[in-house]
């Protein structure tokens, strides 16, 4: 008898070794792990609670206030216009942030949310004190630049632990503030329109588009 010199073909239980890619199940678990890390970081980071659309509304409020303020006859009415705008903006900021936090199921009062407010508050308080002092000294022309500078500083510090876009917005506000301080006295409202109005709309849109709302 003549035997063919071939051995029985071995059928491996496992995939052939040239197929080095991991099985699909492992791939799905890896995806799941990455999504978990991303979700956790988003919830733990201070950034996501900030509502982009809220920022846009604040920007529109700022632009509107700049227009209204520039039409006021007296310095006191001018200041009152901006004070109302500040209160409205703060209200819009708090409400829209709370709405976004609820939508993504994130506690707003603990951890990052609290840190955000605690970092933002001191520059704003300093701004309020300086507003009273400078206005009393008849230096209201310096106010818009000072507001933009201090508000920007607050956004930079509050956004330290955050995605880069937040401190970048803060630095931009500070830059506009410096420009306002160097510019002729009558340009204050225009700088507020550009800084408090324009920058909020631009960065708010960016935040809303990229970070869900």
């Amino acid at each position: 008898m003549h035997h063919p010199c071939t051995m029985a073909e071995i059928i491996p239980f496992r995939r052939p070794p040239d197929d080095e890619a991991p099985p699909l199940e492992l791939h799905e678990r890896a995806m799941d792990n990455l999504q978990f890390i991303r979700r956790t970081m988003e919830r733990a980071g201070s950034f996501t609670a900030v509502s982009g659309w809220g920022q846009v509304v604040i920007g529109v409020t700022g632009a509107l206030a700049a227009w209204l303020a520039s039409r006021q006859g007296s310095a006191l009415n001018w200041l009152a216009t901006w004070a109302v705008a500040a209160v409205v903006s703060m209200g819009v900021g708090v409400v829209t942030t709370a709405m976004k936090a609820r939508a993504i199921g994130e506690p707003i009062r603990s951890g990052p949310g609290r840190k955000f407010v605690l970092s933002l508050a001191p520059p704003l308080m300093a701004g309020a004190v300086l507003t009273a002092v400078l206005f009393h000294a008849g230096q209201q022309a310096l106010l818009p630049g000072m507001w933009l500078l201090l508000y920007g500083a607050g956004i930079v510090t509050a956004g330290t632990n955050s995605v880069r876009v937040v401190p970048v917005m803060g630095f931009s506000l500070m830059a506009v503030g410096v420009a306002a301080l160097l510019a002729p006295a009558g340009w204050g409202d225009a700088f507020m329109a550009a800084g408090f109005g324009g920058l909020h709309v631009v960065f708010g849109t960016l935040i809303a588009r990229r970070y869900g709302g």
Partner: protein
């Protein structure tokens, strides 16, 4: 795998971590792979420090669960834990060490390499 690792990272919205290791981990890092511990490290990666209670709320954990896993990470050198008193109330604060940050970066690279390998198939 090496090719996959060299391939461009699918960013997926995650911000890059400062001081991250360039090399992916060839072996799965078991210390960080466990879900609770992965949550702790991820949360600390985006906060300079977090207190025990903040971490507990954030990750919806029990006291016991958090302390067991935080201890393991601390033993592994990924976590730094400092205990202070606020009046009479003890306050435990956690922060990520450089080793912990590198470990998370390596883990992310590892996961991305796995996904990339399947995509290239």
């Amino acid at each position: 795998m090496a090719e996959a690792r060299r391939a461009e990272r699918a960013d997926g919205g995650l911000r890059p971590l400062p001081g991250g290791a360039e090399t992916g981990a060839p072996e799965l890092d078991r210390l960080i792979h466990e879900r609770v511990r992965l949550g702790i490290v991820s949360a600390l990666a985006v906060n300079a420090s977090l207190t025990f209670n903040e971490l507990k709320d954030m990750l919806s954990l029990t006291d016991g669960n958090l302390s067991v896993h935080a201890r393991k990470l601390e033993d592994g050198g990924y976590l730094q834990c400092s205990k202070t008193f606020e009046g009479r109330v003890p306050r435990t604060e956690f922060r990520l060490t450089d080793a912990g940050r590198r470990a998370l970066e390596a883990y992310l690279n590892h996961m991305e390499a796995i996904i990339q390998a399947v995509r290239d198939r």
